[in-house]
């Protein structure tokens, strides 16, 4: 291993911290975790400057008129929640810790679980990894999770293994890259009645995306989920999971919407579905800004 690669593992998104998290979950008594998480949050608040700046710029849009100082405190709180959620996900994977959760929109969750092909549209919010594992376990259904690729391949491998282990093999991870094979693979999965989970709040470069309005600002969001829904004729279920307390989560499932052509052009259908998703995302993020873990800038004008 050359020196550059060796040092890369200690970068903020490097695999070292993921492995250290596993170490912490299996070695730090539960009552000391809060203190440790507070201290590690302070550490990353200072050293993960790009993530901190991204949260600050997103908060300035979500909460217009808020003071910069208050937003620093909010950014710290967001990182604190992020630390708890990844710690809980590791806890579930390694120690099989049970989590309490309440479901809002249970009828839609049951519909989703029974659906023959559906898109689960979510955001980088709360504990989406834990949510996917819980869903796969609760309904004994396989879930295809599309993720943004990790910068560090070792981190990506670690995350894949973690998710598959936590869900007992019920979650299959696919990476959202420019590869043309992935949309076809997902379309086949949908047509054969499976569920595909996509995070629709951040567009990666070189991935199909289009202009949308979020919190009154122009953003680029992925349009892949809507094109897939249009082609496969499957419903889109917005689903979010966020932390409400120590080992407690809330799952919110909203009524499904469709991406129908209905006489309009394909473009108009996709844009209408994207607009519906943006309004949904706005209402959920506005209520849970401290658990929107969009650690990259979303709003280009900021």
């Amino acid at each position: 291993m050359n020196a550059r690669r060796w040092f890369r593992q200690f970068a903020v998104r490097g695999v070292f911290w993921r492995r250290y998290l596993d170490f912490g979950v299996t070695n730090v008594p539960i009552y000391l975790r809060t203190v440790m998480i507070v201290l590690w949050t302070c550490f990353f608040f200072f050293f993960a400057a790009p993530a901190r700046r991204a949260i600050l710029s997103n908060l300035a849009v979500i909460l217009p008129g808020s003071s910069r100082l208050a937003n620093y405190a909010r950014a710290w709180l967001t990182l604190f929640h992020f630390a708890w959620t990844i710690s809980d996900a590791a806890d579930h994977k390694l120690a099989r810790t049970e989590f309490a959760y309440e479901v809002e929109g249970e009828e839609f969750l049951d519909q989703l679980a029974a659906a023959r092909g559906a898109i689960l549209l979510t955001a980088h919010m709360g504990n989406y990894d834990l949510g996917a594992a819980l869903f796969a376990q609760r309904y004994q259904r396989e879930l295809h999770v599309v993720r943004a690729p990790e910068e560090d391949p070792a981190t990506a491998r670690h995350l894949d293994e973690s998710l598959e282990r936590a869900s007992g093999g019920g979650v299959k991870v696919a990476y959202n890259t420019s590869a043309t094979a992935l949309p076809l693979e997902l379309l086949n999965a949908l047509r054969s009645g499976e569920i595909v989970s996509v995070q629709g709040d951040r567009a990666m470069p070189a991935v199909s995306q289009r202009k949308a309005w979020l919190f009154g600002e122009v953003v680029r969001l992925p349009d892949g989920p809507f094109i897939l829904a249009l082609v496969a004729g499957t419903p889109i279920y917005p689903l979010f999971i966020w932390r409400t307390g120590f080992h407690h989560y809330k799952i919110l499932t909203l009524p499904p919407f469709h991406c129908h052509r209905a006489g309009d052009s394909r473009e108009a259908a996709v844009e209408a579905a994207l607009a519906t998703w943006c309004r949904t995302l706005e209402s959920v993020v506005r209520r849970n800004w401290s658990q929107w873990f969009s650690l990259v800038p979303i709003f280009p004008s900021r």
């Binding site: 070695n27 008594p29 009552y31 000391l32 809060t34 203190v35």
Partner: protein, 150 residues
Amino acid sequence: MKSRGYLFALPRLLARLAGYEVCRAELSAWEVYGFGVFVFTMACVVAGWAIWPFVRPGFVILLPIAVWVAFLLLYYVNFLLAQLLRRLGFYTAVTNNPLQHFVIMALMTLLAAWLIVAGNPWLRSLGVFWCALVALNLLALALLKILHAP
């Protein structure tokens, strides 16, 4: 009847005496938030008192960071100890948390005993408070065993 879950035996016994149905759990928020802060604060107080004659007063600001680093080292040493005990077949728990808990509690009790012996009246009362908590918790544990409670 409403069921309550606690990690430590003392609140389990107190809740039982208050008429609640109790279980052993890791879901009590006040233990997670409150007790952890108490343990860490006590470690900071002991460390501050021990190093006070040797450092400039400004160092006190860095004390939580120094104690944090000390805790990280302690976790690692305990991890190595757990590895050794696992190899020898003396330790079989899924995680190292029980061993870490035992070592941390034993160390904190030793520090509390040191405060009782050598500290000023305020620190002595802190040491007495800790030792009383540990003794009451052990007593509660024994009582719950006798009562065949969870």
